[in-house]
Structure formats: C-alpha cells, structure tokens
C-alpha cells in the first residue's frame, strides 16, 4: 500500500506539473487584468509539440537529440525523491537530498551541452548564463537543505519530513526561517522565474532558459518544456515537504489519503498565488544583479547552518 502510494505521488508530481504552470499563468493574467489562456493550455501545447517534426540543425551532433531525453529522465527520477502525500518517497531508501540536488544539476548540465551543440550564438549565451546562475544557486540549495537535515539528524528527505511532522506546528526555529528564505530564493533562480529569468518570452536579450531552447523543436522541445514544468512543481513540493508537511497521510487509509491530497493541493495553490503575485509586482533583475540576489541566499543559508550549532 505504501509503495503504491509512493508510485502515485511521483506520477501525480509529473502529471500535474503542466497544470501548475497553467494555473500560475492564468492567475498572473487575472492580476494584470487580462483574461488569460485556459489552465489546460500547457497540456495542449505539449500534445501539439509531440505530434510535430523534430528539426535538428545541420551542425549538431547526436548530443543535441540526447540532451532533452536525459534532462527529462533525470527530472522524473528526481521527482521520485520528494515526499508529497506521505512521509516517504519512491526512491527515498536509495538516496538522500544530495543526490536530488545533483540529479537536477546533471539535467541542467545536459541542457547546457545541448544548447551549445545547437550552434546558434543565442544558445551559447543562454548556456553560459545558465552555468553562472546554477553555480551560484548550488551552494545555498545544498546548505539550506543541509541545515534542516542537521536538525532532523538524517540526510534522507523522507526522514526530514517525518521529523518535521513530529514537531509542534508553532515550534518555529531561526534555522527553519532562514533556510526557507534561502531555498525560496534558490527555487526562483532554479526554475527561471521573475526576477531572475522571464519564462513568458523569448524576445528578450537577457533571457536564460528560453535562449537555450531556441534551436529545439517538436518532441525534443516538448520534453524540455515538460521537464522544466516538473522542476517547478518539484521545487514547490520540496518547499512544502520540508517546511510545511502538516496534513500528510500518516496511515494508509482512504480518509487520510483524501485529507493529504486536499492539503497538498491547497498548499500548492498558495505557492501558485505567491508566484503569480510576486511575478506581477517585481521587475526582472539586471543580469549583473543576479549574483547579488543569490549571494543574499547564500548568506542566509550559511547563517542557517551556523544557527543549528548555536540553538541547543
């Protein structure tokens, strides 16, 4: 039963990822006084792209076609590490949060290679920017998760979630507040949302993710788009699981499962609303200010780790 639920939550994470994107886009449009596209639009986009022809530049090697597949595969594998509905995960016994971080890094590495293999100058620019952002985001992501892991005395994400579930809801510690702030900053940078990158357009000179995928088309593009949607949903699930897991199913009964699903969807709606409000109210940072933005995240994450030693 537990294992079946583990499979279900990983599949849920992968399948509702485009919906989360659609909901954020829709709410953003409402805030900006537009009507906006249907929330199911990302699914239609994916379906359309999967039916189209895959065009490969004449200069590209086999790596160009391989990169989207690897990216999608490692992102789905990473989704298997995150507890969503209960305090355990599909791959939770085989790896810890460090593996999760580096699975995401592996996917990004292949995307960067594919972008440079495409042979356009935009791909190279996007790739170098992505490399810069991900290098700077890696330290706060690892340190922020490490701070919470030190408190829980376990490196597995499922263990951290189970420890947090046992804590009192009001037991707010400085470590949690600081780590949450750092990870929220990192999640914005990792998923390429405003103020670090603009996911809505590829007509900007300072774009990062969109510049990398300019040369891709058809099923390859669909895989990349789906993978980046999964990454957004994964980051949201990670923040929810580590900092607000209350409501997760502790017993494998139908009622607790229904409560867990409802609680998760409600928390996801809060995240989507927060992203929509944030993206409508702040301007995109200049490229040279992004290191500063992530520097603040690093400072918060380091302070979080040091505080684990200071506080009892």
């Amino acid at each position: 039963m537990t294992q079946a639920l583990n499979v279900f939550q990983a599949v849920l994470l992968v399948l509702i990822a485009p919906l989360l994107r659609g909901v954020i886009g829709r709410w953003k449009a409402r805030i900006q006084n537009r009507r906006g596209a249907s929330v199911w639009r990302p699914y239609a986009d994916l379906l359309k792209l999967f039916r189209k022809e895959d065009l490969v530049p004449t200069t590209a090697s086999g790596l160009f076609r391989l990169a989207p597949v690897v990216l999608f595969a490692v992102t789905v594998a990473a989704a298997g590490f995150v507890p969503v509905l209960q305090g355990s995960a599909l791959l939770g016994t085989t790896g810890d949060f460090i593996l999760l971080v580096y699975l995401l890094a592996l996917g990004r590495f292949f995307l960067v290679l594919g972008a440079m293999d495409g042979g356009s100058s935009f791909g190279g620019m996007g790739a170098s920017r992505e490399a810069l952002v991900s290098t700077l985001a890696e330290a706060p992501l690892l340190l922020g998760l490490a701070a919470v892991a030190i408190l829980a005395r376990t490196a597995s994400l499922a263990g951290i979630v189970q420890w947090t579930l046992r804590q009192d809801f009001f037991e707010l510690s400085a470590v949690h507040a600081l780590a949450f702030a750092a990870l929220a900053f990192v999640a914005i940078a990792e998923t390429g949302r405003i103020p670090v990158d603009n996911p809505a357009t590829h007509l900007e000179l300072t774009m990062i993710h969109e510049a990398m995928v300019l040369e891709y088309s058809g099923p390859s593009l669909a895989l990349i788009e789906w993978a980046s949607a999964i990454k957004l949903s994964l980051m949201a699930a990670l923040l929810i699981a580590v900092f607000a897991p209350w409501g997760m199913a502790t017993t494998a009964t139908g009622a607790s499962l229904a409560v867990a699903t409802a609680a998760y969807l409600a928390k996801l709606a809060v995240v989507a609303a927060a992203v929509a409000v944030l993206e409508s109210s702040v301007a995109k940072l200049r490229m040279y200010l992004v290191p500063d933005f992530l520097g603040v995240a690093s400072a918060l994450a380091i302070l979080a780790v040091v505080f684990t030693a200071l506080m009892r």
């Binding site: 400085a174 600081l178 520097g295 603040v296 302070l303």
Partner: protein, 220 residues
C-alpha cells in the same frame, strides 16, 4: 486562559527569530520605503514581546509601554518617514557602499558576534540568551546601517534600529525602565526624528542631494 499563556510563551520564544529576519532583510533591502516598512514590522515584534512579558509578569505598567511603542514606533515614526520620503522628491534607492549580498553577510556575521559577546552576561545575569543576543545584534546592525548607507534618511533609520536594540536590552536585563523614563525616551525619540527630518530637508536644500559621503565642504 490557557490559550493566552500559550500565545505569550510562543511570542517570547520566537520574537528573536523575527527580529533577526527583519534585520537581515533591512540589510538586503534596496529601497528606502521597504526599510521603513521593515522597521515598522520590527517594532510590531517588539510590541508583541512587551505584551507577552507584561502578561507573564502581570505588570500593568508594561501594557502602557506596549501601547506607547505601538503608537510611536509602529505608526507615527514610519508615517513621518514616509511623508519625508514623499516630500523629498529624491531618488528612493538605498545607496550603499556594500552590495546587498555583502551587507547580508556582514549582518549575519554581526548576529553571530553578538551571540558570542553575550555569553558571559547570560551566565551571570541569568537572562534569555537569544533575547540579549538579539538586542546586541540590533545595536550592531543599526550602527552598520548608519556607516554603510550613504543617504541621510538611512542614517535616521539606522539610529532607530540601534535605539530598538538598546530598548530591547533594557527590557531583557532589567524588565524595562520606570514608566516615567520610558515616556521621556519616547518623547525624545519623536523629537529626534522630527529634528533629523528637518535636517534632511536642510541638507537637500543646501547641497541638492542627500549623499552624506559627499558632505566634505562647509557651505554658507
């Protein structure tokens, strides 16, 4: 009554965390208006702490102090500062000599330093370690904001943060000063902000900017 006691205990336990967060965000903030909002939030945390202490120690005087802090620091001073920002018509960025990432690093270092600095006093006085550390951290970061920010208005905000730290230190070590003295201090503070506001206008009118790092020459 159980609920009130619970709320008071939680307010005492977690207010240091919120104070640290307001200080760190102030170091990261890029606009003067967000600094003012953060200062107001910081004072609101102080108010909740005074209320919790007043409830735990059953002291009616402390409720008066809490009300005074709320009116003066949470409402009046931020309102006055916003009025000054509006009427100055000057650029609203915090011009700093350190980048915001560096500022947060330095503020984080100051917080750690204050934890180590209060160790001997915590043992001899028997007070809450986090609270006293938060007080020292507020004093240090207030001073840091004053020296690293170039706008004259940010100096005012830095001084106010520093004053919050001194107030918190008095609160944790001796459970506040006598009421008459507190009222005197608040009146002083209000006058101080008023005078500094006037001073900021004078600087703007005389030099056509607010950058204190350029105040080198005397002008008639």
């Amino acid at each position: 009554m159980g609920l009130l006691e619970f709320a008071a205990a939680k307010a005492l336990a977690s207010s240091a965390v919120f104070l640290f967060i307001t200080v760190l965000l102030m170091a990261a903030a890029k606009r003067i208006s967000s600094c003012i909002v953060l200062f107001s939030a910081q004072c609101a945390v102080l108010v909740s702490e005074i209320l919790a202490l007043a409830y735990v120690h059953r002291s009616p005087e402390a409720y008066v102090v809490a009300g005074l802090v709320f009116v003066v620091k949470v409402l009046a001073i931020p309102y006055g500062l916003f009025r000054i920002v509006d009427r100055l018509n000057a650029p609203r960025e915090v011009v700093a000599s350190t980048s915001s990432a560096q500022s947060v690093f330095i503020a984080a270092g100051l917080i750690l330093l204050s934890f180590f600095a209060v160790q001997p006093y915590v043992r001899t006085l028997g007070v809450d370690e986090e609270m006293l550390a938060a007080a020292v951290a507020l004093v240090l970061t207030g001073a840091f904001l004053m020296v690293s920010r170039k706008k004259a208005l940010m100096q005012v905000i830095g001084l106010l943060v520093l004053e919050n730290g001194i107030f918190l230190a008095a609160l944790t070590t001796t459970f506040g000063m006598p009421l008459v003295i507190e009222i005197g201090i608040f009146f002083d503070l209000l006058m101080g902000v008023l005078l500094m506001g006037l001073f900021v206008f004078r600087i703007r009118d005389t030099f056509e900017h607010l950058d204190v790092s350029k105040l080198r020459k005397l002008r008639g």
